[in-house]
Amino acid sequence: MTKSGVRKEGIKGTLTGWLYLLPALAFLGFFMIYPLIDVFIYSFEEGFNSASQTYFGIGTYNYRYVLRDPYFLQAVKNTFILVIITVPVSTILSLLISLALNSIEKLKKLFQTIYFLPYVTNTLAVGLVFMILFQKTPYTDGLVNIVIKAFGMTPVDFIEGPYWAKMLVLCVYVIWIVMPFKILILTSALASVNPIYYKAARIDGTSKPRIFFKITLPMISPIIFYLVITGFIGAFKAYSDAVAIFGTDLNASGMNTIVGYVYDMLYGDGGGYPSYASAAAIILFAIVLTITVINLIVRNRTAIEE
């Protein structure tokens, strides 16, 4: 075959490839890339009015405003606390539960269903349950407070009380919501480790902790990395969780998240500021991108060192 023949075929092949990809690319472009670019442009347009489609000027004013807005700073602080606490805690707890599940051969199926229930239950319904557990009403102090009282300590208002109490409830809630998925993934990851390695380790008299840290953990580490990255992204995007517990006026209760702030800027009571919302959204995008890149670098580094 001649050179040009090869080239023609090559170009043709690539073209067909792109054609196959076209629907997916068009979809992605229209619903993901185009809005992203649009938001990026809005974020630099000062005082954009969506009704009249006009703005005063172009510059970084929106960013400067958002970064000085105490509500935004509160939302960033809340989001970071949420991420830093819930991602490791939920991952480690899920791993412990999965290990336990994996060792109880008979009850595995049943437990998997039970732990998976919250995942398929509506977040708002779970929120309702949390209200019952934590909320103080004129009629009752909430289940948790009743328990706290039974131990002779002073009850706390978890929904409208001090910041740390509210944060605690939010963290417990988020951990509770994300664990089923993690447990499901981790139990199957653990089950997929070839038992032959455990047999080999047993012959060599390897202790249980050493088997876990030297064999099990490295073998499921890609899955753990996956869970950590998606966990970070998910926690940064938390919003409905806070709404489910504290209601829609999150700024007032001091429990807003970044996504909540974006939403409020658009549609909330004090809303109608698409430019500020866009700037906040781009900041969130930058944070998530940075964290994900750092995660990937750390992962590649450890993969090479192993």
């Binding site: 390695y197 060599d204 008299g205 050493r210 030297k214 490295p218 073998m219």
Partner: protein
């Protein structure tokens, strides 16, 4: 260290209502002499791996006892037995380097046996040198060929200097050439270390070529243990006779009448001192003598020249299996007819078996 099995039995209970229990190993009772290489031979699923797993303590016997030398190790946990096991699929830890894989067992040592890092590395180097992979210490298993991985697995099993080395089909994942090379290697390593070694295989040629003794088993039941050539020449039953040898033994439906052995109408042997009646008659491929007026009449199918020897493929109405394979040295080869061939048969290569029990019948 001598290994003695006493009425060793392993029964796997039924998994569910539909299946039944499996007697994987049934009343094993024999002694493996010290410092020898033993080939444990049998078809797939006959319980070979289960025997090894019981010896090293990964499986608990249903009944019976295991002795290492004078010590009853039946209830001793596997890490205290001092047995090394090479798994069929190597079971190297994929995330660790060769060095880390080999030192892994050493890092588990506690108390007085505990070794420093230098000692561990030195032992790993020694073991690696023994199996000739000392240049590959920093590679991961995934970056090595099957044969090299196999050597790493052997080094890992050897590094603690086990009293007994167990190998579960160590060559089954290698290609033909590498298999030949590696089995010589295993023999060399065994002789160099003098460790009592049990080597499991379903390949009779492999077992015959390197073992000091072979143990043949079938469906969990011990059949015979002896030196390879003795088992080949003198099998205790039809199963063992059929299992050993390539090409396989040719089996005929035969009968004995007035101290003469008949295959169909052809009287092939005289002086057969057993009672009249039907028997199985097994003739080794090298037991045929090509002769114009030979006793056994067969139809000729083809001639295969395989280097030094020639194999004549023929058929006979009384044979079992698809054809008769006889090996004739090339200079004796004179075929006068295109479609028939006649053989005399060698007495020493002709084995008789009971028609029902398939147990060997001695007829001299």
């Amino acid at each position: 260290m001598e290994v003695r099995l006493e009425h060793l039995t392993k029964i796997f209970p039924a998994r569910d209502k539909k299946s039944s229990e499996v007697i994987a190993v049934n009343d094993f009772d024999f002694t493996i002499p010290e410092g020898k290489l033993i080939g444990l031979l049998g078809p797939s699923g006959c319980g070979k791996s289960t025997v090894l797993y019981m010896i090293c303590g990964l499986e608990k016997p249903t009944s019976g006892k295991i002795y290492f030398g004078e010590d009853d190790v039946t209830d001793i946990p596997s890490e205290k037995r001092g047995a090394g096991l090479v798994f069929q699929n190597y079971a190297l830890y994929p995330h660790l380097t060769v060095r880390q894989n080999i030192t892994f067992p050493l890092e588990n040592l506690k108390g007085a046996e505990k070794l420093t890092k230098e000692q561990r590395n030195q032992k790993a180097e020694e073991a690696a040198k023994l199996v000739q992979i000392d240049g590959l210490m920093d590679r991961k298993p995934g970056e090595m060929s099957g044969g090299q991985q196999q050597r790493v697995a052997i080094a890992r099993a050897l590094v603690k200097m086990p009293k007994v080395l167990l190998m579960d089909e160590p060559l089954s994942n290698l290609d033909a050439r590498l298999r030949l090379q590696t089995r010589e290697e295993i023999k060399r390593i065994q002789q160099a270390t003098g460790i009592t070694t049990i080597f499991v295989t379903h390949d009779q040629e492999e077992a015959m070529s390197i073992s000091d003794y072979i143990v043949v088993m079938k469906d969990g039941i011990f059949q015979q243990m002896d030196e390879p050539q003795k088992v080949y020449d003198d099998p205790v039953n039809l199963f063992v006779a059929k299992f050993l040898g390539t090409p396989a033994i040719n089996v005929f439906e035969a009968s004995v009448k007035d101290k003469k052995l008949y295959i169909g109408e052809d009287q092939v042997l005289g002086n057969v001192n057993i009672k009249d009646g039907p028997v199985w008659c097994g003739i080794r491929p090298e037991g045929f003598i090509l002769k114009d007026d030979g006793a056994l009449k067969c139809s000729l199918t083809g001639v295969n020249v395989m280097g030094r020897d020639t194999s004549i493929v023929s058929t006979n109405p009384n044979m079992t299996g698809i054809n008769i394979r006889s090996i004739i040295s090339a200079e004796d080869l004179k075929l006068n007819s295109k479609d028939s061939v006649r053989f005399d048969i060698k007495r020493s290569k002709t084995l008789l078996f009971d028609k029902d029990s398939e147990v060997r019948i001695y007829y001299d």
